[in-house]
């Protein structure tokens, strides 16, 4: 027993660091979410504020943005992934496409915002091109600095991310299944409808969840692009740190943070379940 305890001593530095750097701050946020900022007494008013009015609106807008920027890139990424999958293994096209996906999926935050300002901002290059051919996007309801603009920018890293994470699912489709289906007289449509589709579905849904989570907790790109003018939850939390707070509401930011963590935790659980389901076909 003593020996066992002694063996555990080797991971103490790591455990202490995680406790100090992650455990205590997270716990403080969770506790603060239920505290009156002035008296320190237990209260549900932070939670109430965080789930009503502008903050509820923030959660809804964030969810809307996350749905758009996971479903659309999910479908595009699936098509691109399939195009890459059908290319010969080792073909240059395939290698370039996979490398490019890795590079672009790693691309976000501040630099991405500036890339799009240079492209589709009011004085951007593509805006000039479009105006020159008689279609000024800003006269037609487009605005890079609102929700639609942010969604367009998120696609830039969400699509390649989808390609990267869906490819292994395509690779998992056994050629033997297709051959067996063909031997039994199934056409392409029937194969995808009855075999390929159902096998891919859990992976596809799992990937959508990851994209959703990735968009849901994004802060940097939206903040750099809009200077915090769109009401996303992450940006609202940030504004509490910047000091734009009503008296007595200092802890609402913590309640919002707690809400975000809970939502992502639910996504993770669903993701794990879907992965388990998807793993059934590979071993």
């Amino acid at each position: 027993m003593l020996r066992r305890a002694w063996t555990l001593a080797g991971i103490v530095p790591f455990a202490v660091y995680v406790l100090l750097g992650l455990g205590i701050p997270t716990a403080a946020t969770a506790v603060g979410a239920f505290q009156n900022p002035d008296t320190g007494q237990f209260t549900l008013s932070n939670i109430h504020t965080a789930t009503h009015g502008i903050y509820l609106h923030g959660f809804l807008i964030t969810a809307e943005l996350s749905v758009i920027t996971s479903v659309v890139p999910g479908i595009c990424g699936m098509l691109i992934g399939y195009a890459i999958y059908t290319a010969r293994r080792g073909a240059i096209l395939r290698r370039v496409a996979i490398t490019a996906s890795g590079v672009f999926a790693n691309f976000g935050g501040v630099p991405l915002a500036f890339l799009f300002i240079a492209t589709l901002g009011t004085t951007g290059i593509a805006t000039h091109w479009l105006t020159a051919i008689g279609f000024n996007p800003y006269d037609n309801g487009f605005n890079l600095y609102d929700l639609g603009g942010v969604a367009l920018v998120y696609m830039y890293f969400q699509i390649p991310l989808m390609v990267l994470i869906i490819l292994p699912a395509f690779e998992g489709l056994r050629p033997a299944w297709r051959e067996a289906a063909q031997n039994m007289g199934a056409g392409t449509w029937q194969y995808w409808r009855r075999i390929g589709g159902p096998v891919l579905m859990p992976s596809f849904l799992g990937c959508l969840l990851l994209l959703f989570g990735s968009a849901f907790s994004a802060y940097a790109t939206a903040e750099a692009l809009t200077s915090g003018t769109i009401p996303l939850t992450a940006i609202q939390i940030g504004s509490f740190l910047n000091g734009n707070v009503l008296a007595g509401q200092q802890n609402v930011g913590k309640a919002l943070g707690l809400g975000m963590v809970l939502i992502i935790a639910v996504l993770m659980v669903l993701y794990t379940l879907l992965q388990r389901r998807a793993a059934r076909w590979r071993q």
Binding site: N106, L210, G238, R282
Partner: protein, 280 residues
Amino acid sequence: MAAIISDELAGETAPPRPRRRRSVPVWRWVILLLTGVYFLIPLYAALRFAGIASFGDVVHQTGFSDALILSLKLAVITTVLTLALMVPTTIYVHLRLPRLRRLLESITILPVVIPPVVLIVGVLEVAPGYLKSTPYLLGLVYVILAMPFAYRSLDAGLRALELRTLVDAASSLGAGWLITLWRVILPNLRTALLSATVLTVALVLGEFTMASLDLYQTFPVWIVAFDQTSGPVSTAASLLALFVTWLFLLLIVTVGSRRARRTGGAQVDLISVTRRDTVW
């Protein structure tokens, strides 16, 4: 979350591919061409928008060198701390506590689950005043953000080794613990160490959320602040930041796959290095 995916992929070997496939090259080329255009136009536009001159101007701007130096210092602090913490822990768990590997894996995923914007709220709440008054608090917190990526690289590297055999061989030849670590294990982990380092450095150089909320002007924060003064210069700085990150990533991929071919060890590829930190 990307960390989790890479784990799912890491252990998988590709199943055999069908030899005969229907040729549908036309639609494939159309899709990939459209995609290529969508991804290349913003890059081209940014290059045009910034103009060649701005690239030279970037370095002369007020605050540029201070911001870059702060970011580089934080990168060094974070990398040293991360490796000092994660290398011994991961090796130790592999050797002595293999049953804790799953637990360690779940713990190192946590920083990916908790968005940085939430974590920094908690950190600023509990950090003592003497830490809050220095930018190096960020370095300490970045270690937490870097953990998932460092752990995954090191774990993949260790799994590809016959660690037990190496350690036993070293000790039967009379090597002590430090010698074994320094002359046997670490040289075998070179690829993993390289990718852990590169990922950590790239993470610190690109991190915006926490730095801006902690009110310190690291490089990405400076780029945004500077945008108020000159758009082209900020765009040029963004492009520079991007190219440097890409060079780092390509470095891992090329060095990683060359070493993997030579040693038959775990391959480090772009999928396993995909990170979402700067975005989150």
